[in-house]
Every structure is written in structure tokens, then in C-alpha cells.
Amino acid sequence: MSGLVSVAALRGSRPVWAFGVLAVTWLAAILFAHGFDSVANFRYLVQTASFLGIVAVGQTLVVMMSGIDLSVSGVVALSAVVCAKVASGTGGGATGITVALLLSALVGAVNAGGVVWLRVPPMVMTLATGTILSGALLVYTNGSPSSAHVPLLDSLANDRLLGVPWAFVLWLGVAAVAFWLLHLSRTGRYAFALGAGHDAARASGVPLGATAFTAYVSCALLAGVAGLVLLGFTGTSSLTMGNPYQLLSIASVVLGGTSILGGRGHLLGTVGGALLLTLLTALLTSWNLSEGVRQVVLGILIIGLLLVYARERRT
């Protein structure tokens, strides 16, 4: 009896769907696309998925409390550009990393402050901070960001631990901590409550300020970490390097079965969503499509996947 119940629960669970679609796509890729059956390819895939995945884990925390963070693209660029500039200048790699992470956390705090105190809708607040960030980076770098070689980041992005890329290990670690924060800690319960019903949660004494600050600062911090790993991976920073992560991180969250309206979902679904999107991107790249066509196909695929299993019940 209990077995039947759990099967039914699994079928109704959107995060499980994410992994199901992932498994099917992966199988199809191995069977029909060239070069997806090797260990090296698998390793490369989880390594590149980590960059997106780390951002998406942070995005999940914010989306769960019915917020949204459109400034992640700006923060990814911010942390990479600032770290590269500091590290290639007078400061060392450690200073660069510290400054970059502090600035990222600051952006998250500003986002939360705007949402909580100024009561600006999250979408607009984060869109505005993202724009301010890209302007500030233009001013800071004078339009030409620098490249830098930071040994710590380099090995973090490219080296392996027992054959597993460090980036992937980092992602799993981040996901584990976020899992605890969202599903096991009190703050996580608050986030779910705020996402399910803002006013009811406030009336029952859920601290909006503390929860929002935790979520937005964690999200920005993780975007900063992703920027640093990306800097280690490519060795250069650019003002637009964060751009793909804005849509893709939100798509990972939603494809992972979390409701964009908040209050419903699971963090592990996001891990599946990020893997799925990275796999799709890799597939499209392997077909040698032009940049524009690739973007069109990915856009259609995302919309299609959303249509299949991320529809909101009409209220």
C-alpha cells in the first residue's frame, strides 16, 4: 500500500520529472549524438554544468520565497571582473577573491533592502541593480576588463579530485548546504511560507527581513562564486560573461519543478534542471549551429519544456 502511495507521489512530483527528462535526453544523446558516450565528455559536461548549477542553486532560494533575481548575470560579471582586476594589479589572488565575494554579498543585501524596505517588486529591483552593475563595471574597467591567472581559481575550475572535477564537487557541496538551508532549517520553512502566501506568513510572525536577506545575499554570493570559477576556467573576464546565466538559472529552477510563484518545489530539482539545460546546450553546440540558430532552438526548447510540465494551475 505504502509502495503504491510513494509511486503516485513520485509521479506527481515535478523534481522527479526533471530527472526523468534529463535521463531520457541523456540516453538519446548517447545513442544518437556523436561523442556523448565517453567518460571525458561526461566529465566535461558536469564541469560546465557546475557554473550554471551554482547560480541556479542560489536562484532557487530566492524563487522559493516568491522573489526573483535578475541581477545574477551582473553579479557573475562583477565578481569575475573585480577579481581579475585586483589580482592582476597590486593585490594578490586571495585579496581579489575576498573583495569579489564581499561585493557580491553587498549586491544581494542591496536587493533585499530594496525589496523589504523600499517595497520595490523583486523583479524590478534586481533588474535595476543588474543594470547599475553593468554600468558600474563599464566605469570601473573603462570598457576593457582585464584577464588574470589566479592559481587557486585555476585549479578549482580545471583540476580533479579522484577523477571528479573540483567544480562539480564544489557545486555538490553548495547544493548540500542550500538543501539544509531550504529544507531542514527554520529559515527554509520561512521561505516556503512566504512563497506560499506572503500576507498569511507575515501575519503568523515570519520574519520577512531576515529571510529575504538570507535568500538574496546567498543568491548573490553564489553568483559571485560562479563568476570566480568561471574566471578560473577561462582565465579572462568580460563584461558580458554573466549574460547567459540570467535566463538559464531561472529556467533551471523552473524546469527543476519549483514554482516560479514560490512556495513549492525542491532544491535537488534545480540540480537536475541545470544538468538538463547544460546537456541541451552541449547538444546544440555539437551540431555546429550558428549562434543565432542555437539561441532560437534553445529558447523554443525551454518554452516547450515549460509548457510540458511547469504550467501554473490557473487561479
Partner: protein, 317 residues
């Protein structure tokens, strides 16, 4: 008469505040550029402000429906690319190119609207994903900045055609059509669906159709903005549309359009767009790096929204 004015003023306090701000900006502008009121400057400024005004009008249409369009910049770029890549030689070709670009933009808007109305997907997600899609289509149409707009048209548009400021006329016609629409039942339906979807449905409105129509209309405004931008600059750039997403939202918010739909007037949005445009130009006059533009635009948006929330909270309590 006097009574009517005071009644009108009481109902539009935020618009009056915006108007006052605009006047202050105009005086400051006059200080830097004393030729402000000459026909030549008016023509150039209207050519420069047209894309933002029309893009903001498109954003307002969607926001009145209770939605938001994050793909506006991408659709604007798409219309621009389609218009400029069509090899226009004579007047007939230009009209064909315009019609083509407009059709593409309306279709893009209608697809957004259909996804929102029928699929039950939230507008943020739909339009964010759509921005990816339309941005990709733009890159397929026009991989690099380029394209071609007849030089005579560019000249007439930017420097006046027999002394007529064509961009100003275009904006006036577009806004006149909006005003006309507002008086019909379709315009009323737009406000009704945005204000209270259930109520509108219960009153027998075809809410899904209204949504698709609204998004398509927004596409038309955005398409016109893209065409205007192509004529103003004489070519097209696939990525130039991006800032218009944020600025159109900022102009609408400044103009008093509510995020929850159904509240606000187009005249407010036009004032908001003018304020943002003038402020950006003033910034250039002060001689600071144009890189600061993005910073200022973001700050304007946050300050405007925070002020608005603060003021309405005061009024409510």
C-alpha cells in the same frame, strides 16, 4: 471651468508632479542648450526620444494587462533588423519594409500573449524565455551590426521634412490611435482584464483574446520603436534593443502604471519617457562618461518606484 481644472488636478497629482519635474528638466536643458525651442532641435530630440516613448507605450499596454514584457528589447531589435536588412530602394520598398517589420513585431507579441493566455505560464518566465528566442531570430536575420536605410529617409527624418518633425508626427499619430482605442470597448476590455481578470471573465469578456490582442498591440508599438531607431541611426544593431526593456519599464512606472494591472494612463508613460530621455541627455551635457548612463537609469527606476510606494502608502494610511 476653474472647478473642472481643480478636479482634474486632484485626480492627477502624480502626473502634475511628473509635469513639474519635466519643466525643471526643460529649464535646465535650456541652460545648457539655448536652441532648445528651435525647430531643428525639436526635430532631433523627437527623433531621439521616439523609440523610448513608443517602447514605453508597448510596455504600458502589457502592464495594464497585469503582465510584464522582458522580451521588449529583443523584439525591438528584431523589428529594427528586419526593417534594415530589407533592401529598400524607393518609397514603395520602404513601406514594404515597414509593413514587414511591423508584422514580425506584432506576431512576436501575439506569440508572447498566446503563451501567457493559453499556457498558464507567468508573464515573467514567458517573456524572459521569449527574449532568448527573439534575440536568436534577430541574430539569424542580422548577425552583425549593419543593414541599410535609404539616406534620404534618414536625412528627412532627423532634420525635418519641409519643416515638419516627422518623428513627432509619428508619435502623435500612434498616441492618437491609442486614445481612439481607449474609447472603444476593446480599450475598456484591456483595463478590465488587467484590473480584475475574474470579474472581466464573469462579465462575458473573452479574457484570453483580450490578452493576446494586448500583447500584439504592444508588439506593434515596439515594432514602430524599432523602425524609428533604425531610421534615426541609419542602420541596425542586433543588440541595441536590450536597454529598452529596463527603460520602458522605468518610464511606465514613473508614469504611474501599476504592476498589478488596470491602473494608469498612457499620458503618464509619455511624460515618464520624456523625463528619462531628457535626464539622459542632460547627463551628457555635464560631461561625465556616458558609461554612467546605465547606473543613472537603474537608480531612477528604484527611486521612482520607492517614492511611489512610499507616497501611496502615506495616502492609504
Amino acid at each position: 471651468m476653474r472647478e473642472r481644472i481643480t478636479v482634474a488636478a486632484r485626480g492627477n497629482t502624480d502626473l502634475l508632479g511628473l509635469l513639474a519635474l519635466l519643466l525643471v528638466l526643460l529649464v535646465a536643458y535650456q541652460h545648457y542648450d539655448s536652441s532648445l525651442l528651435s525647430p531643428a532641435t525639436v526635430t532631433i530630440l523627437s527623433a531621439q526620444f521616439l523609440p523610448l516613448i513608443l517602447a514605453a507605450a508597448g510596455q504600458t499596454t502589457v502592464m495594464l494587462l497585469g503582465g510584464i514584457d522582458l522580451s521588449l528589447g529583443a523584439v525591438l531589435g528584431l523589428a529594427m533588423a528586419v526593417f534594415a536588412t530589407y533592401e529598400a530602394r524607393g518609397a514603395g520598398d520602404v513601406v514594404t519594409a515597414m509593413a514587414l517589420a511591423l508584422c514580425v513585431a506584432v506576431a512576436a507579441g501575439a506569440v508572447n500573449g498566446a503563451l501567457v493566455a493559453y499556457a498558464g505560464l507567468p508573464p515573467i518566465v514567458v517573456t524572459l524565455a521569449a527574449s532568448f528566442l527573439w534575440g536568436g531570430v534577430t541574430l539569424v536575420v542580422l548577425p552583425q551590426p549593419g543593414g541599410h536605410v535609404p539616406a534620404g529617409l534618414v536625412e528627412a527624418y532627423n532634420n525635418g521634412w519641409y519643416g515638419i518633425a516627422l518623428p513627432a508626427v509619428a508619435v502623435a499619430v500612434a498616441l492618437g490611435l491609442w486614445k481612439l482605442l481607449r474609447t472603444t470597448r476593446h480599450g475598456l476590455a484591456l483595463y478590465a482584464v488587467g484590473g480584475n481578470e475574474h470579474g472581466a471573465y464573469a462579465s462575458g469578456l473573452h479574457t484570453r483574446g483580450v490578452k493576446i490582442g494586448g500583447y500584439a498591440l504592444a508588439g506593434a508599438f515596439t515594432g514602430l520603436a524599432g523602425i524609428g531607431l533604425a531610421i534615426q541611426t541609419g542602420s541596425a544593431d542586433p543588440t541595441i534593443g536590450t536597454p529598452y526593456t529596463l527603460n520602458s519599464i522605468a518610464a511606465s512606472v514613473l508614469g504611474g502604471i501599476s504592476f498589478f494591472g488596470g491602473v494608469g494612463r498612457m499620458r503618464g508613460t509619455v511624460l515618464g519617457a520624456l523625463v528619462i530621455g531628457l535626464l539622459t541627455n542632460l547627463l551628457l551635457f555635464t560631461g561625465i562618461s556616458p558609461f554612467y548612463q546605465l547606473v543613472v537609469q537603474g537608480v531612477i527606476l528604484v527611486v521612482a518606484l520607492a517614492l511611489k510606494t512610499y507616497l501611496t502608502r502615506e495616502a492609504a494610511e
